[in-house]
């Protein structure tokens, strides 16, 4: 399996990573090598095998719908890059 520059560009966009043209060659090569390693999985017959998402067979616990946490907004926002009036600031999205 070999990825070309267009593939890498598309994946990088999905992952929201800025990849420069200069990095394309080495990234495409590294990713293709990893996919070659992964290719071995295709030699295995997994017909009828149940996918294992998780190592322990546990049911998700439910808790009663009660407020258990107090408000930590100020503490959490004190480490944010930019906030104002309790809101996180980002570049304008709506004109």
């Amino acid at each position: 399996m070999s990825l070309d520059h267009a593939d890498v560009k598309k994946i990088a966009h999905l992952a929201r990573l800025d990849v420069s043209d200069g990095q394309m060659v080495s990234i495409a090569k590294d990713l293709s090598n990893i996919l070659d390693l992964v290719e071995q999985l295709n030699s295995v017959d997994t017909e009828g095998v149940v996918p294992m998402a998780h190592p322990l067979h546990m049911a998700q616990r439910l808790r009663s719908d009660e407020v258990t946490e107090t408000d930590h907004r100020e503490v959490f926002q004190s480490i944010a890059p930019q906030t104002e009036d309790g809101l996180y600031l980002v570049p304008k999205v709506i004109e």
């Binding site: 992952a15 990234i27 990893i34 992964v38 295709n42 295995v44 998780h54 944010a80």
Partner: protein, 485 residues
């Protein structure tokens, strides 16, 4: 003081041979004097440590001390520590001061542990050599030209050099066991779910597990005792009673059935490592254990399976680092997309970006079934290999890593060859089983480890098996001679 085990230090504190403040100062001095050779710490917490030590001394005097009260340790920098910088080895979190403690940190704190500082690690725990850290490579205390292993390389190096009596680590594909082997210390990865993942920065959530890194199995037992247990903050935390890990340490091993997977002793295993592991197994026979050959036929599929499952989960987990709520933000973003893309590209190093890209690809429309679902099916087959093996044997043994510490830079430009360093450890994470690495006879003069794999929640048995070898041999007491002792 620094060559004593945690158990011995606890006795010394109780007897009044030294105070926790003296003990803590002693380790802080060693870190200050010797860590420039290793780079095992990202942050040293001198003031916080001494203040915690003072409190511990009061508890000791008041007779309110537990087995860990006043003993200093180090935390891998993947654990959130309230008010203390928590970088996860990344530029992304260079100025991140955690607003809360991880459960592991909180529990050890409640047990009276003193935190000396935060240890260096591969960025976001993605690596097997500690070379992907934004804060520089860690040097193996036994040979400064070689890597300490990874991703818990700083924890392994500082414990091996006796800059801390113990440290916490995390293990997603071998990140406690492989560096423990390469640095000649004891490391335990518990059963998935045994130790809470709350506040432990996530890499691959179905594989990540925290554990102790110590100089002996006896110490690992007391440390795990404080770390393990149900936590309502972690939805995958196992709601199972925690046994007394120290109670059965000295149990007799007569009749113990040890399985040796033939796949772990084949091609790719360094001859000197094989010899050291075989010597340790011979020692177990002397202790009354019975050794049988077993097969884990899907072993060769563990690394390829892992390199779908782990990157897929990582790409999802690391999407939280978006430059909005915390972590690195790029300068002058022109729009929101630019803010996301440049903040992430600037904040993450090469290996982390590679894994995010592979994971994104494996989960993307049209490829999900072929990669992610396929890997999960193979994961099931790998797990069943172990289920069948544990019908025949009590524990499984083999090498922890195929080689001793390789040279810094040797594998840095070849990700796939680096991935194969974890060939014997990865399957254990995929199955969710507990595994341990303990030091054995040096291989061609360098540290190496014996891996012991147990059945689900059999940590007490692993510790017993490890401790019996450490009672009969002194491999675990060797300290690196090129670090001042």
């Amino acid at each position: 003081m620094h060559n004593k085990s945690m158990t011995e230090l606890a006795a010394g504190l109780r007897a009044g041979d030294y105070s926790s403040v003296e003990l803590t100062q002693h380790f802080l001095d060693r870190i200050q004097r010797l860590d420039s050779k290793l780079n095992s710490f990202i942050t040293v917490c001198s003031d916080e440590a001494l203040s915690a030590a003072k409190t511990a001394d009061q508890q000791l005097q008041a007779g309110e001390a537990g087995p860990l009260t006043g003993i200093p340790i180090a935390h891998k920098d993947i654990f959130c520590t309230e008010g203390i910088k928590t970088t996860c080895g990344s530029k992304m979190l260079e100025s991140f001061i955690s607003p809360y403690d991880a459960t592991v940190v909180a529990r050890l704190k409640a047990a009276g542990i003193v935190n000396l500082g935060k240890t260096n690690m591969d960025e976001f725990a993605m690596g097997s050599s500690n070379e992907t850290s934004y804060y520089g490579v860690v040097h193996n205390p036994w040979d400064s030209e070689t890597v300490p292993g990874g991703s818990s390389g700083g924890s392994a190096a500082c414990v091996a050099a006796r800059l801390a009596p113990a440290a916490t680590g995390t293990d997603t594909g071998g990140s406690i066991r492989q560096p423990a082997a390469l640095c000649g210390i004891t490391g335990l990865k518990p059963t998935y779910g045994r130790v809470s993942r709350y506040g432990m920065i996530a890499f691959a959530s179905s594989l990540d597990q925290a554990g102790p890194m110590t100089t002996s199995a006896e110490d690992a037992a007391i440390m795990l005792q404080a770390m393990a247990g149900f936590d309502a903050h972690d939805s995958t935390s196992a709601d199972q009673p925690v046994p007394d890990y120290s109670a059965g340490l000295e149990d007799d091993l007569s009749g113990l059935k040890i399985g040796l997977p033939k796949e772990y002793f084949g091609e790719g295993l360094d001859a000197a490592v094989a010899k050291s592991v075989e010597e340790a197994i011979a020692e177990y026979k002397k202790l009354g254990a019975e050794v049988v050959e077993i097969s884990l036929p899907n072993t060769h599929l563990a690394v390829p399976t892992y390199y779908v499952v782990a990157p897929a989960e990582c790409s999802s987990n690391l999407s939280r680092f978006d430059g909005v709520r915390y972590g690195h933000r790029c300068e002058d973003p022109k729009d929101l997309e630019d803010l996301y893309k440049r903040s992430r590209a600037e904040g993450f190093g090469d290996e982390v970006q590679r894994r995010i890209l592979i994971g994104t690809y494996a989960l993307s429309a049209g490829y999900y079934d072929a990669y992610y679902l396929k890997a999960q099916r193979v994961r099931h087959l790998i797990s069943e290999d172990f289920t069948r093996a544990f019908e025949q044997v009590d524990v499984i043994m083999g090498p922890t890593a195929p080689d001793t510490g390789f040279r810094i830079g040797e594998k840095a430009n070849d990700p796939v060859s680096m991935y194969l360093s974890d060939i014997y450890t990865i399957a254990v994470n995929l199955a969710g089983l507990p595994g341990m690495s303990i030091p054995v006879a040096p291989a061609a003069g360098k540290p190496t480890g014996l891996q012991i794999i147990g059945n689900y929640f059999a940590e007490a048995q692993l510790l017993n098996v490890a401790h019996r070898l450490q009672m009969a041999t002194d491999y675990h007491q060797a300290a690196p001679s090129n670090i001042e002792q």
